[in-house]
């Protein structure tokens, strides 16, 4: 197993290089001159602009810029963003907020998705199942910004059960509503996946064996059906953690969360290559690591999957 983990870590290297190169190239190709944009409405001071270009290596060709960027990563000196703050400090500020948001969303979608999916699967074709299926379809069908504004207005503004916007501290309490909005789409998928998986496993031979052994229905479900049914669900949840981290832009916009999505959005608009690439690099690493975690969980849940044979 340890050689497997080592192999997976080595695989991170090409993924890391490829992802950073691709993102760096995309930012490089953005139209417009970021330094000119920096001056806004004021007339451009050529001397200052030239100095800034040198500081951000914008006078160099693309390859040189990319290599210099790689060097900055490995020397742990990410440089500064256009407002002059160290990028490392920016990352340290936004990532904890988004991580909190994403983990809360993940917990929400996992707990409720699995519980609802399990009940629906066990009562296939009954009223609860039909209701939940239709409701999940509606959730999947409505775009997240519509859902976000809807919940923000009803629960946050009209009912006042939760704060409609997030304070700069972004506490757990502040993030409950945004986390639900962020996790709703995946919640519907988790629910449907669990339901299908449970239904499939209910007719499995070993479930009949378990019943024939004299186990109670509860124990058959808890011990024999649930664990087998969770295998595909876990895979989805792991991959989803990365998606939640990177894909919170809309939700963070609606609730004004000072997180990764917000900062990334601003960096893209102002063409701050190093900031964009730094954020994306961390996201790529999170993606890879959460996938690795999923594979390990998979092996733990399903002994048939042997990695180091």
């Amino acid at each position: 197993m340890s050689t497997y983990i080592l192999k997976r870590f080595l695989q991170l290297i090409p993924v890391f290089l490829g992802a950073t190169l691709l993102v760096y190239f995309l930012v490089f190709s953005l139209p417009g001159d970021p330094i000119v944009a920096l001056f806004g409405d004021k007339p451009v001071n050529e001397a200052v602009a030239a100095k800034l270009r040198i500081q951000y290596h914008l006078d160099q060709p693309f390859w040189m810029q990319y290599l210099l960027y790689l060097k900055s990563i490995f020397t742990f000196d990410l440089g500064q963003d256009f407002s002059g703050r160290p990028i490392a400090a920016v990352l340290g500020e936004v990532f904890p907020v988004t991580a909190r948001l994403a983990v809360m969303a993940l917990v929400f979608e996992a707990v409720f998705g699995i519980i609802f999916g399990l009940i629906a699967g066990l009562r296939k074709g009954k009223f609860f199942d039909a209701t939940v299926l239709v409701a999940s379809l509606i959730v999947i069908g409505i775009p997240i910004f519509v859902l976000g504004f809807l919940l923000q207005f009803t629960i946050g503004v009209q009912l006042g059960w939760a704060k409609p916007t997030v304070s700069s501290a972004a506490t757990v309490q502040d993030l409950i509503l945004p986390a639900i909005v962020l996790g709703l789409g995946s919640f519907a998928y988790v629910l449907r996946l669990t339901r299908t998986s449970v239904i499939e496993n209910m007719s499995a031979d070993y479930v009949r064996t378990a019943t024939a052994k004299g186990l109670s229905r509860f124990r058959v479900v808890r011990v024999h059906i649930l664990r087998n049914s969770l295998i595909p669900v876990i895979t989805f949840l792991g991959a989803d953690l990365g998606a939640l981290m990177g894909g919170a832009i809309v939700t963070e916009g609606i609730f004004n969360v000072p997180g990764v999505g917000n900062r990334l959005y601003r960096a893209v608009l102002s063409g701050e290559g190093p900031t964009v690439v730094s954020i994306v690099t961390v996201l790529v690493l999170i993606y890879c690591l959460s996938n690795l975690l999923v594979d390990l969980l998979y092996a733990w849940l399903d002994p048939r999957i042997r990695y180091d044979s």
Binding site: Y206, A210, A212, K213, L215, D302, R304
Partner: protein
Amino acid sequence: MTDFITLDPAPAPVPGKGDTVLEVRDLSVDFGVDKKWVPAAIALNYEVRAGEVLAIVGESGSGKSASSMALLGLLPSNSRVSGSVKLAGKELLGANESNIRAVRGKDVAVIFQEPMTAMNPVYTVGAQIVETIRLHNEVSPEQARDRALRMLELVELPDPGKAFKSYPHQLSGGQRQRAMIAQSLSCDPKLLIADEPTTALDVTVQAEILDLMRNLRNKLDSAIVLITHDMGVVADLADRIAVMRRGRIVESGTATEIFHNPQHEYTKALLAAVPHLGQGGENDEDVDVTAALAAATQAEIQAIPRSELLRRERENSAALAAAETVKPQGEPVLELTDVAIEYPKQGRVPAFRAVEGANLAIYPGQVVGLVGESGSGKTTIGRAAVGLLPVAAGTMKVVGQDISAAKKNGRQLHEMRRHVGMVFQDPSSSLNPRLPIGESIGEPMFLAGVAKGAVLQGRIEALLDQVELPRDYRNRYPHELSGGQKQRVGIARALSLKPKLMVADEPTSALDVSVQAKVLELFQNLQKELGFACLFVTHDLAVVDVLADRICVMQRGRIVEQGSRDQILRNPQEPYTQRLLAAVPLPDPEKQRERRELRAQLLSGAN
């Protein structure tokens, strides 16, 4: 632990003399399909006594499984059950859920058909057995563990401690079935329901499991309900037999009565349809395989008087001497010289050599049976012969062409395949479900450009006639056909290009015996009429015996013995061939008793 009976050998009880354990009266089972009740079992009556094996025999759809699952309330929710099921005088039908649960696994245990899927893949074998024991007995985890280990020992697993810690996928099919049996027996059930317990296993493993069940029956004095379609298994184990057809028991009686004096038409037909190793095809002489094996291995059989055995052995060797060896004529249609076949490397999985040093020739008009157990490489040779797998070493000539070096999907293989037809094992998945069967049959001819338009339609109709399907079936889809009909379509498709060589890979193993008999007969007639050469791959020696001129026996990637039917059946030389022949159960209780004794001697001699 006081509840557990001892596992020490007790004096063998006389079968059928114990108390009645199970009494079934007017048991009916219906399934709700499209808001209508469709009967699966109708007014069944039977009883089983302690130490007795009742075999419920029938073909698929006869209701044998459904009625037995109904005893424990294991049917899906769209079913309804009526009648009375009494276990040691206590009514089970209509009993409340917790009472039924107390009976399940404790008083009545089930051995299921598929050892591959019947145990939960994510828990160890030991954990699953311990779960059963602790559920029904007030014992500590350690006591349950000891008990589980003893059960694994009882079912003769080679290393009980290792099996305890293994996950089901780490055990072979036979070991898994033993573990399943250990679990079923772990609470000393009064009644054991065995639902096709050996169907998914190889013959030699099947013979071992049957021995095991017989020994356990003698030791534990449980009643056994054996559900099976296999008359050989029935002859080996059953004391009494109930024959089911379309939900009803058409005939029941002792094993001797049913096998030697069947009353009902269906029983007679069923027994006639069972291929009988040694009986051969219509032009073949009967071979006394037991005597042949006894002669080849110098075994003594107590069940047969010595003079009688000698007489049978003499008869056999005379027949072997008289058997004329027909000189093969013409160029071989398929010729393998020192062939090795590999499954190519896939990603991190290294290449696997499935066949090594195979020599084999099939001449025009010959049928060669390739037999072996799972993993022996028989299917691999079949697939390589149509160019689906590359030849790693040696030369393979098909219809005169050397294809050993042919490129995958190259022109040469393309040309060669026009002369080779293939019939696959599973008729349901080898036909495209979205094509009417007429198109499936016509496709090879259309693609090869040999016929189109009205000529093609005419050919399709002629082929349907040949496989004895009505012409108007051409517009039907595969799901509208029965298993036997689908396999007829598969044969018609394989014949459509008038092949010189036919490769048939277990074409009848998915079919019921009576259907199998008809398909085999059709196949045999077509072969005689059209004269194609055939490589017939199967695990079933009895089927090979019906069809083949020559028999090749494979074991672990090698052809261990080959020869004419007479040579192999009358004078098997290789120990593996002998073991294989001895493991095939005969559908006749007396002859099977002789065979069993012979097999026991063979095995003890081998050790």
